[in-house]
């Protein structure tokens, strides 16, 4: 489903070039559950943004569902984001003035879905994350776990093929985190490709595959079952970071 070939991304911070990604190549199959780990500044967020077509690589080739998305123009990219990709963020990113159901309707608003159909689909999606009773609450009236579930409903309301989650449980207590994780796995089991960036070993453990990044390079490829190996690599990387 996804093929990355020699992806590089360099930012310029002042006069210093920062190599966020260096020659990253990877393949992600449809229906996979992949976790990306790494110390802060290792490039894992940049990788997620490139996967989500929010950022473009400076070098390399990104094929999504057989299309070279690096060559698409702005309008085509927004269509890819709208119909192929769903995003979940650490800080939920709900629009504060809109109710839960209106937040879920938002992607359909820009996709031009008719109001009645919009309302119906949003309601079904909220029902699927167990939040129908909270449909008319605004985000500030919802708990953190509920907010993330609304965001999850919103990310999947247009039936994307790929769900990208950036620290989805990073701001939640253990119980809420488990609920959100269960929902993500449920969706993954139904065929949605899931890529999660996380610090949390409890989240990474559930993934079928784990990538560990350091200084913009993939330094470890493992599996959720053998998370110990990944954690050892991660620990070494973080020690190295601290040392210098």
């Amino acid at each position: 489903m996804i093929r990355l070939e020699g992806i590089s991304r360099t930012f310029r911070v002042g006069a210093e070039p920062v190599h966020a990604l260096v020659q990253v190549s990877e393949e992600i199959a449809a229906g996979e559950h992949l976790a990306i780990m790494g110390p802060s500044g290792s490039g894992k967020s940049t990788l997620l943004h490139i996967l989500g077509c929010l950022d473009r690589p400076d070098e390399g080739r990104y094929e999504l569902l057989g299309r070279d998305v690096a060559r698409l123009d702005e309008t085509e990219l927004s269509l890819v984001r709208r119909h192929t990709i769903g995003f979940v963020f650490q800080f939920f990113h709900l629009v504060p003035r809109l109710t839960a159901i209106e937040n879920v309707e938002l992607p359909m608003l820009f996709a031009g879905v008719e109001p009645e159909e919009r309302r119906e689909r949003a309601r079904r999606r909220l029902d699927a994350v167990g939040l129908s009773p909270r449909a008319d609450h605004r985000p500030d009236q919802l708990s953190g776990g509920e907010r993330q579930r609304v965001a999850l409903a919103r990310a999947t309301v247009l039936d994307p093929k790929l769900l990208l989650a950036d620290e989805p449980t990073g701001n939640l207590d253990t119980h809420s985190g488990r609920q959100v994780l269960a929902l993500l796995e449920e969706m993954n089991a139904a065929g949605l490709t899931l890529v999660v960036v996380t610090h949390d070993p409890a989240v990474a453990r559930r993934a079928r595959r784990i990538l560990v990044l350091q200084d913009g390079r993939i330094v470890h490829r493992g599996s959720g079952e053998r998370i110990g190996d990944a954690l050892a690599v991660l620990q070494a990387a973080e020690d190295e970071e601290r040392a210098g």
Binding site: I85, F87, H93, P107, F110, A111
Partner: protein
């Protein structure tokens, strides 16, 4: 994204900041209200002048002694080489066939007394024809008798107010009043007329022109009003009148003006004034536009994360541009409608305070004010909206 969804989304965003939205909306409202009220005032002044002029009759030529270019002395009040005499007036009427009626006028001020009561009023020397030419009407009795102009008579016609003040509860017709040192018999009373070109026609005494010239010791007429048969004859008649008088005086020492020309000159001057007032008021709309731009810039920087989110959800940059532009236009249009209501209220208040002034905003001003308010939103909304669309999605999501 449908237009309806776009507007609802924009309205929702504006409701999130009621005070801020309301204040910038108020700016536009004040601008539009100012345009409406000021143009209504100008238009009211124009209508007032036009109605004043048409009251004194149409197709009128006005002859006044003295060239307007003549230096030294006010035209019509001495300092003029030759007098404009009754003989001049008669000569003009004889020589110019286009003239239907003529009314030579003398004006002055005199005390009118009856018994113990006396009152200082404007004394008008006129002729029988004056009734028609100045569109006057009688409440009682007759007007001045139809006699040769140079023959005086000891008769007077009183204005409505003068008659009421001197003869409370009595019919003045047939009574003898003293005007200055003269004794005059009242033959008629004018119907109420009100102000006519600066003279209160209800507070006058009208006597035959030859008598008035003797009473006031004048040798020259104040005005000679000439009613021309048809509108098409005005220019020709005017030229002939001028030629006759130049011939008689040996030099060009009178001014002949067509009342229509004066009227249209006044009308166009006041029309221009109205436009100028509207233009000045429109400047406040531009100021209001800057206010809207400011509010929208704040909105864009406040909602940076939201814009990042919308981009991540697959909103196109054109849609984001449209959403923010719709917000600005909605704001300014709502302000425009509010201003329209406020302006209308102000005009109503003005009319209630000054009933004589027919104040009403011209249709073009209402249309222009509304169109301008929409345009202000579109124009001053573009810059903030474009700023919103230029955001980098990753940076915007991080709130940068």
């Amino acid at each position: 994204m449908s237009a309806r969804d776009l507007l609802l989304f924009a309205a929702r965003a504006l409701r999130g900041h009621r005070l801020r939205s309301g204040l910038s909306l108020l700016g536009v409202a004040i601008g539009v209200a100012a345009v409406i009220a000021l143009t209504a005032l100008g238009e009211g002044a124009r209508r007032y002048v036009v109605s004043q002029f048409s009251q004194i009759g149409t197709n009128l030529l006005i002859v006044l002694p003295g060239r307007t270019e003549t230096s030294g002395g006010m035209p019509g009040f001495g300092g003029v080489p030759n007098d404009l005499t009754l003989a001049d007036a008669e000569a003009v009427v004889r020589a110019v066939p286009e003239i239907d009626r003529a009314a030579p006028l003398v004006m002055g001020s005199e005390t009118v007394a009856w018994g113990e009561r006396q009152r200082q009023v404007a004394l008008v020397g006129g002729t029988h024809e004056m009734l028609e030419v100045r569109r006057l009407a009688l409440a009682r009795g007759r007007f001045l008798p139809e006699t040769p102009w140079d023959r005086g008579a000891a008769v007077a016609v009183l204005g409505q107010t003068l008659a009421r003040e001197l003869f409370p509860g009595t019919d003045p017709v047939g009574e003898v009043v003293r005007i200055g040192d003269w004794r005059m018999r009242v033959v008629g009373v004018l119907a109420p007329r009100g102000m006519q070109l600066g003279i209160d026609m209800d507070d006058v005494a009208v006597v035959p022109v030859a008598t008035a010239m003797k009473m006031l010791n004048r040798r020259s007429l104040f005005r000679l009003l000439l009613q021309v048969r048809g509108h098409a004859d005005i220019d020709r008649a005017r030229e002939q009148v001028r030629r006759v008088l130049v011939e008689r005086h040996g030099e060009e020492d009178v001014t002949v003006i067509a009342q229509d020309a004066v009227l249209s000159a006044f009308s166009s001057i006041l029309g221009a004034l109205t436009m100028a007032l509207g233009g000045i008021a429109a400047i406040s709309l531009a100021v209001a536009g800057v206010g809207i731009m400011n509010v929208m810039l704040v909105a864009v920087s406040e909602r940076t994360r939201e814009i990042g989110l919308l981009l991540a959800l697959g909103a196109g940059r054109r849609q984001i541009l449209a959403a923010f532009l719709a917000e600005a236009i909605l704001l300014s249009t709502a302000g425009g409608l509010l201003g329209l209501a406020a302006g209308w209220g102000a005009v109503r208040g003005l009319v209630a305070l000054f009933p004589a002034l027919p104040a009403a905003p011209p249709a073009w001003a209402v249309a222009a004010a509304l169109a301008l308010s929409v345009a202000v939103g579109a124009l001053f909304g573009v810059l903030p909206a474009r700023r919103a669309t230029r955001l980098d999605p990753v940076a915007a999501l991080a709130g940068r």
